[in-house]
């Protein structure tokens, strides 16, 4: 691997008799945000813990920032930051002391550690709360501090395990902005999430896993295409052409389109070819269109299709 991202290949990890991760491969290049998406118990945390050298795999290759994580875990630890599901800051210390302590553990001098702590406190909007014990912080402030603590050592790769868990939507947006800034600075980010919206908003690429296996991966648009379920939406410019247009759609797709009040005609299509076929027929017949769209399914639909019934619960919850 030429750049400073990460790469795993054929990762297998068992806990007793259960196989938490069964042959997952994924990779990200420098500055990329990769979203690891899956329902509870899919194996996301196991994957991220293996990458962060907290867990040894039973099989597979793991490289992080160009270093073999199995041969030189210490080398990897020098280049990464990991934030677990529980915030990993010390509740009893102040925000500043947490940052200074990590700086000292990373072999910064006392002055240098304090300076870096000050920088990060400002960057994460924690100046005012800097000298209060973390136990008095709100959930959002804690998450921000957690992220700041991870950045003390200027990591090349950052692993975030469900970073927005327990945050209200406003705080989530704030966290997303910070993650995007990281990527702009050239930091590679892997984040796990159960939320499609989060993966879609943040990730350049999404990998979906379920029951320890990789189900799909790609940029969000590809995923949507992969899962199928495209529709064509057609509203003739002249309402009088509606029946003629419906006949065209029915002939090409082989089924009668549904008539919706807002869009006119909506029908599932097998792929782009059918869409262009419809377009060509409309032109031949001289039917002008007011709206004519090839629509990918929403990520929610994709996710449901990919992970099956297991995902229903939390997708509904997220949509609410």
């Amino acid at each position: 691997m030429a750049d400073k991202g990460f790469e795993i290949e054929g990762l297998v990890r068992k806990f007793g008799r259960t196989t938490a991760v069964d042959g997952v491969s994924l990779a990200a290049h420098r500055g990329q945000v990769l979203g690891l998406l899956g329902p509870n118990g899919a194996g996301k945390t196991t994957v991220i813990r293996v990458l962060a050298t907290l867990l040894r795999p039973d099989a597979g290759r793991v490289r992080v920032a160009g270093i073999d994580a199995l041969r030189d875990p210490a080398g990897v630890r020098r280049r990464i930051a990991f934030s677990g599901q529980h915030t990993s800051v010390d509740e009893e210390l102040t925000g500043r002391s947490n940052l200074v302590m990590i700086g000292r553990l990373l072999d910064r001098g006392r002055q240098d550690a304090r300076r870096r702590a000050g920088e990060l406190l400002s960057r994460f909007g924690l100046d005012e709360a800097a000298d209060r014990p973390v136990s008095t912080y709100s959930g959002g402030m804690r998450r921000r501090l957690d992220l700041a603590v991870g950045l003390v050592g200027r990591p090349e790769v950052v692993f975030l395990d469900e970073p927005s868990a327990g945050l209200d939507p406003g705080k989530r947006d704030e966290l997303w902005r910070m993650v995007r800034e990281l990527a702009q600075d050239g930091v590679t980010v892997l984040l796990t999430t159960q939320y499609l919206k989060e993966a879609d908003a943040l990730a350049d690429e999404i990998t979906v896993i379920d029951h320890g296996r990789l189900i799909a991966s790609g940029v969000p648009a590809d995923l949507k295409r992969q899962a199928g379920g495209h529709t064509v939406v057609l509203r003739p410019a002249d309402a009088g052409d509606l029946d003629a247009a419906a006949a065209v759609v029915a002939r090409v797709t082989g089924r009668e389109p549904s008539r919706s009040h807002r869009h006119g005609l909506v029908a599932p299509v097998a792929g782009e070819a059918e869409f262009f076929h419809i377009a060509a027929r409309l032109r031949e017949l001289g039917i002008d269109v007011g709206e004519f769209a090839f629509r990918l399914p929403s990520l929610d639909e994709v996710f449901l299709r990919l992970t099956g019934a297991t995902a229903t619960g939390h997708v509904a919850e997220e949509a609410a």
Binding site: T53, L54, G75, R77, R79, T87, D90, I102, L105, G153
Partner: protein, 265 residues
């Protein structure tokens, strides 16, 4: 982003010590906000001292002054072990339950450092406990026949022994599931270790089964050694046995605890 420095992997003893001191400071910072463990390490032995002194002083030794000379060295050993005994195991356990340990494990520091840091903080807590206990002992009529060097020697031995005993609680803290269970375990260990010893009287006055335990109990040897030192009659035997037990406790519990802590689960 460039990598500022590339160090070769492997243990770096000096760095480990430096990291341990940073983490010891963290642990001591908690003590200033929550002085419970030190208070516990002083109040419990002081209470035992007062109770035993006035309960047994006259019937056992003829006078409380006489008994203070016998009792105090044992109380000192108890104090040195107790100030960290419960707190270290509990603190490490709490760190493991929340995400702090994951953070430490994902840093390029030795996995010994967090544990050693905690135990080093204990040593300072023992030192405080020992100083206060000396003051209380003196108020209650104890005086070191052996003089200042003997007192320093006894305090040093008690603290060394406490340091090694701490690793037992660290091991419990790493292995046991919840902080409550750590407290329960440590307390159950505390009673037979500290009281099933030569604390209140020579072991040859005890019934056979209890004597058998008290004679092998490392705490007995530490108490005997401190007693002999403080009373100006140092015995190589009990000091040697205390050092040997300290070494055994350290050499077994420390590697086991570090291994369990570093295990990638």
């Amino acid at each position: 982003m460039t990598t500022p420095r590339t160090r070769t992997a492997g243990p770096r003893p000096l760095a480990t010590l430096r990291h341990s001191l940073v983490l010891a400071r963290r642990s001591l910072g908690k003590t200033t906000r929550n002085p419970g463990p030190v208070v516990n390490g002083v109040v419990t032995p002081a209470l035992f001292m007062i109770l035993f002194l006035y309960l047994f002083g006259r019937p056992v030794a003829g006078s409380t002054a006489q008994y203070a000379q016998y009792l105090f060295p044992g109380i000192l050993v108890m104090g040195a072990g107790l100030a960290g005994m419960v707190s270290t195991g509990t603190a490490i356990n709490l760190d493991l339950r929340n995400g702090v340990t994951d953070r430490f494990r994902s840093l390029p520091i030795s996995r010994t450092a967090p544990l050693l840091g905690s135990v080093l903080a204990d040593v300072l807590r023992y030192l405080i406990a020992v100083v206060i206990l000396f003051a209380i002992g003196t108020l209650l009529g104890f005086h070191a026949e052996g003089g200042a060097p003997a007192a320093l020697g006894a305090a040093g031995l008690a603290i060394l022994f406490g340091f090694c005993l701490s690793w037992l609680t660290v091991l419990i803290g790493v292995l046991v599931r919840s902080a409550e269970a750590v407290t329960a375990f440590s307390f159950i260990a505390f009673l037979p270790l500290q009281l099933g010893s030569s604390l209140t009287g020579p072991t040859d006055t005890l019934p056979g089964w209890l004597r058998a335990w008290a004679d092998i109990n490392p705490v007995t040897h530490a108490m005997d050694a401190c007693r002999a030192l403080l009373n100006g009659t140092p015995e190589a035997g009990s000091v040697g046995r205390t050092l040997l037990w300290s070494a055994v406790l350290f050499a077994t519990c420390c590697p086991l605890a570090v291994r369990a802590y570093g295990r990638q689960e």
